[in-house]
Symmetry: D4
Subunit: 225 residues, 8 copies
Amino acid sequence: MLQFEKNDKLVFIGDSITDCNRARPVGEGLFDAIGKGYVGLVEALLTSTYPELGIRVVNMGTSGHRVRDLKERWQTDVIDLKPDWLAIMIGTNDIWRQYDVPTMTENHVYIEEYEATLEELILQTILQSKPKLKGLVLMTPFFIEPNKADRMRATMDQYGEVVKRLAAKHGAILVDTQAAFDKVLKHLYSATLAWDRVHPTQAGHAIIARSFLKSVGFDYTKDPE
Amino acid sequence: MLQFEKNDKLVFIGDSITDCNRARPVGEGLFDAIGKGYVGLVEALLTSTYPELGIRVVNMGTSGHRVRDLKERWQTDVIDLKPDWLAIMIGTNDIWRQYDVPTMTENHVYIEEYEATLEELILQTILQSKPKLKGLVLMTPFFIEPNKADRMRATMDQYGEVVKRLAAKHGAILVDTQAAFDKVLKHLYSATLAWDRVHPTQAGHAIIARSFLKSVGFDYTKDPE
Amino acid sequence: MLQFEKNDKLVFIGDSITDCNRARPVGEGLFDAIGKGYVGLVEALLTSTYPELGIRVVNMGTSGHRVRDLKERWQTDVIDLKPDWLAIMIGTNDIWRQYDVPTMTENHVYIEEYEATLEELILQTILQSKPKLKGLVLMTPFFIEPNKADRMRATMDQYGEVVKRLAAKHGAILVDTQAAFDKVLKHLYSATLAWDRVHPTQAGHAIIARSFLKSVGFDYTKDPE
Amino acid sequence: MLQFEKNDKLVFIGDSITDCNRARPVGEGLFDAIGKGYVGLVEALLTSTYPELGIRVVNMGTSGHRVRDLKERWQTDVIDLKPDWLAIMIGTNDIWRQYDVPTMTENHVYIEEYEATLEELILQTILQSKPKLKGLVLMTPFFIEPNKADRMRATMDQYGEVVKRLAAKHGAILVDTQAAFDKVLKHLYSATLAWDRVHPTQAGHAIIARSFLKSVGFDYTKDPE
Amino acid sequence: MLQFEKNDKLVFIGDSITDCNRARPVGEGLFDAIGKGYVGLVEALLTSTYPELGIRVVNMGTSGHRVRDLKERWQTDVIDLKPDWLAIMIGTNDIWRQYDVPTMTENHVYIEEYEATLEELILQTILQSKPKLKGLVLMTPFFIEPNKADRMRATMDQYGEVVKRLAAKHGAILVDTQAAFDKVLKHLYSATLAWDRVHPTQAGHAIIARSFLKSVGFDYTKDPE
Amino acid sequence: MLQFEKNDKLVFIGDSITDCNRARPVGEGLFDAIGKGYVGLVEALLTSTYPELGIRVVNMGTSGHRVRDLKERWQTDVIDLKPDWLAIMIGTNDIWRQYDVPTMTENHVYIEEYEATLEELILQTILQSKPKLKGLVLMTPFFIEPNKADRMRATMDQYGEVVKRLAAKHGAILVDTQAAFDKVLKHLYSATLAWDRVHPTQAGHAIIARSFLKSVGFDYTKDPE
Amino acid sequence: MLQFEKNDKLVFIGDSITDCNRARPVGEGLFDAIGKGYVGLVEALLTSTYPELGIRVVNMGTSGHRVRDLKERWQTDVIDLKPDWLAIMIGTNDIWRQYDVPTMTENHVYIEEYEATLEELILQTILQSKPKLKGLVLMTPFFIEPNKADRMRATMDQYGEVVKRLAAKHGAILVDTQAAFDKVLKHLYSATLAWDRVHPTQAGHAIIARSFLKSVGFDYTKDPE
Amino acid sequence: MLQFEKNDKLVFIGDSITDCNRARPVGEGLFDAIGKGYVGLVEALLTSTYPELGIRVVNMGTSGHRVRDLKERWQTDVIDLKPDWLAIMIGTNDIWRQYDVPTMTENHVYIEEYEATLEELILQTILQSKPKLKGLVLMTPFFIEPNKADRMRATMDQYGEVVKRLAAKHGAILVDTQAAFDKVLKHLYSATLAWDRVHPTQAGHAIIARSFLKSVGFDYTKDPE
């Protein structure tokens, strides 16, 4: 059964995969202000299926961001928005910069900093949110590459483990987006879902959205009546 | 159970609600060539859930078109594409022009012409398609207005009846998009789904996509594995 | 007989229906600085019919504004301009946000706040204007929908009642734009006048302009000689 | 009393003063296709005041055109549109080119050609129109300059005399736009109505529109009911 | 004989007739930074005829400016540039606003303010310039209208008299641009030189440039050798 | 004394130095259709000084053209325009391509072809022009480089000799633009007049215009009266 | 030793990796008409090192092309250009479409067609070129992915084998670009050289250019003297 | 042997020849942030040949800058970036302004200021860099003109002497770009390498890049393995 209650406010934060051209400063409201990625899709499915609940979805993704960047804007972009639910998907750029600009080491966020910062943000949210956060969703970052020996995929899996560990430790709902992609990658080559293995097509965003919705008890068979 | 078979080609044709900025001349392929409306959403859900089937989705919607305009391009835009499945949603502009430019009567497509032309296109497709069409889906046009006494809504319902009658007569699958919107409109005011009551938000497109998928046996609980 | 006197300055304030792409910061002067909606039309009819009066028309409408937003800029955008006459038409967005983004409740301006704020602005203008305001015109907001059972129309009518009440209480001239539209809607479907039932065509702006001019004694039979 | 009957189609043809950014190839329909000059204003006043008549207004003005250019497109742009009423205002560029590019004599349309061509077009319309033209309106060209000794104004007055003569000869309704402007010019300097004394402001367009409407019996006191 | 000496710096200040799209903040240097009006022409003729002198020409015209606006920027745009020679042509907008926006009286600069301000700027320049100004050129504003009974022309002539008076009083070189235009207007209609009678064509700018050069002793028969 | 007579039509043809953004297909008329290079300057000086003559100046320059390209368009761009006077300045690109894309030899126009083609065009014009050409002006191409040992300058001088020879042979007026530039280059480095030594600044265009005007008897001391 | 002779013309043909925004219709000449990829780099190194040879480099790459597309334009884009040397690098899109739009099978060029078409083009060039082709360079397509088990890489290697086979069979010079990339990929992750593993950075283009130059005997130690 | 060590950071600073559209504020990273001139070429050749070294190249060129401008930004744009190696090429605009805007003397940087400022920057870098600078490369500015008697070339040679003197005095590596261009100019006319003799084509940038790489021991025969 859907875990959200009437009028719950659900905030998503992350990087370009979350952003998808959302409005500034707050990604909510008319004219696709919520962006056209998985967040828009989640909102569309929630609103069309549970119109009576009036779930409020806010997209606070920012292209290029790493967990280090989220920390800079956590107060204004998460705490001040007073979410009932918060979903975090971060880590792609923390890792990618290690592989696409390997010499610019000051731009890399290595796994220790990643874990420490992410946990700090989780704790801050749990402790400081008023009203109290009803639920936290941690989504693993993913790399659309099935070869686990690939260096960037291997790193991604390590960061994914951090997310899983923190979800368990802090009682958050876990969304294993990498696992969801892996199932599809058995049938489709990575280029079908993303030329750069990072920014998904609509089908890729559907994979993320459906993983998220599954984790919060979304019922597709429900009718709005 | 999903009615599509491996490698089936599914063509959607219609007006701006179908179009959603699809590529020209054929709405298929990389870079959102399929548009970002309900067709894109259908494709995303099919590909992410049934990647092993390799369903091929083609968007041939054109903004502003009426059934009279579809007739002009039926050979190139439907028959020549050799669809296995064809979905038609047309009628909004046939009616709307009667209400937004009432004096330009030569632009109106009244119900007799609507029914005759639509049936002609259906028959042409059934008879001429090679390979033989596996399935035809007729989707009613809709107006996002719950007041059945509203003049445009009343006309829309009459055209919807035509679609239902033709679906029954020719053994097509019927998608009653108006009924699907009506359920949501019990909870939401029309402006939430479309400022002009015609062009839907993402949530509105999700209503259409889900109605369509339900009619062809889409199974949300299936896993790609 | 026209109530304006030689060289009177007439300021219009409101939302997008007033704005119509006026110049910033002050909507007055060359090159359609006054916008091309009902304000431009009022100015055109005044200047062409009463050129000897030198009436000065200023457009201070701002798209998207609610009465709450007018309050923020009342000093600079009304009081500081030293109007002889002031016309206010506000309320559409105060209501619309309740219907198009129902979950974002902090953006809604409910009727109590609407009435209190509007009255506060009226009083402030009457009391603080130097030179003394010669005349105040209160124009009801409108919704181009004839069905009074429509939820947004019903709300609009309530806000319209507030405007009428305040006009009576403070001796302002009342322009019942909703009544003017209702007469035309007996003959034309709403889509002819506005796709979204809010932003009028040129014909819709003519309805507003003519209602306004009637209320201030404009004489169409007068010749400029 | 208004001379137009229910569903009459009224075509305006002329130069840039008529054009005002109308749609191509035919200036009629949604989204200000009719342009935002005096034609748009005429349409707005007709539709808002006589909505029950369903008058259809079409703008076929083209910037820069002279009577010689109208002749080139008369079949497609007038006859083929089957107007019930036709309004012609031409001559400004026929004259202006004599004054702004005096050496390019092949671009000048002198008064003999002007008169002969205009009469030819009038006769062609009266004789060939099917259904029969109900009414013809001839509008003088104008120059927003009160000094009758000004060389271009003097020439304009001669061309205006041609229009008056042809109106009388062929039983057309005459609209003396120059006379209408002259009345306003007693009170306003020409620059208030047009920097170049040719292309009017909104107030200038109101002068033209009101002259036209007066000539066809428009009743401002009528209510749409 | 040319009054300028080797390496003299010549600053022009004025309105849009001077400006002609000059560079900001200082109109001097490569890529037509000097604008393409009469200032550019003066510079081109000086440089091509007296290349050995290295005359430095600076354009400080600003579109829309009146003498009141020049006063605001006199320190930075004239004094700080340390001109050897200064040419001023101002007044068109001081007058034009009285005729094109007659109701916006706070934008008008009447003749008393015009004279007082212009004299103040002249005195400030003579007294404060270091190094001492070698020469001051006062150019009358002009209106490309030969009819001296025209209201705006009549006003222009009054302002022109002010310029002549001040030139005589302060020993400045006078350039009577109006007289120069009047000679040409005996042969050409105003529209040939400027559609709005204010902003000249290249030929109009040549009239100004040649008047200026004549006043400073430019010798066309000189060869650069 | 000026050699042009009342209403003479003067056509300039050439390359980018002539073109300067002229209008298409014919460079004549309002809004700087004549371009803003030396042709515009010639026209401005002629019109401002001899307004009573009504000289008609047409600019048919096309960027990048060589004599070979002129030949392609000679009928439409020269003969059909029925010039009274024709001025030709061509050769820069014929030579430049030999130096900036030396390997693309099919783009080079060597001196034999240059001379033969130019003479062919001259003869064609003299023989076929109706009405008979009153005067032909041949302008040498130029290179803004004083070093005669420079390879491109040396070639330019050879082509200039061809122009001089043909002028003498066919009784044309010769304008030695190279000589005019050389005088100025004694005082100014080439970069002051053109960064690429080909496309002149306004000062450079003034050098060309003045050379041309001198050759046709232009009198700077004349007043328009 | 460099195999090219004085004035040799070298044509490159291929897809987007070759194209890099070259000019149309022929990629040769001023202003980077040759594109800024490996072809531009080859030209830059040839011209700077062997300026005395006047090697002429032409870029005929077209984005998105497959060998099937090259066939369509082979006559105009290769034969008609009369190359002395021809370099072909094609195959990426022939393969990529199999992986990024797997359902659109008519867009795939499978290995049999690839080999047959490529050989046909080679033979046509050898047989029909006049003057006779001096040298043919066949460059393997490449995929910037070191994992040979990757499906697309595996396919790429098969197509590379075709190229090697044809090079051997027809006596062409072989450039094994894949091998060149593989060496670098031992040290750098693929994302450093291309986000999508196809379109290289400048460093990636340097790898291709250097492989090509090595194959034709380019000598980096040579000085232009 | 290449003088750079693993992970060395190499900063280039200069004017537009260095800039070539690099990213702001720091020219390093993805998407050609490094610009597409000689710096991009150096980086491409280093990365493709020595991928194991991870050399980090940063482009800090700014169009139009002179040594005087470098001084303004030396702290942020050089010192703060903590380069291991620094390459400076400056002087073109210091000289060019003396020749293209000779009258604007305050924009000229004469040789005394050039030498003093350049030495000051060198000393500041050597003394203040932490970690200590490993190597300094001084590149002469150049002018693509072989005639040493040309005034701007002669001046350039004097500034080049300053660079050579300072390189010798401070133990910097010298890159004589002028000498490198001179060798090529024996075979090619200057226009082949730069229309304005300053901004090089790709071939010109290759000349600079190869001179630089030669000076730091780059080995073209090395393979990345």
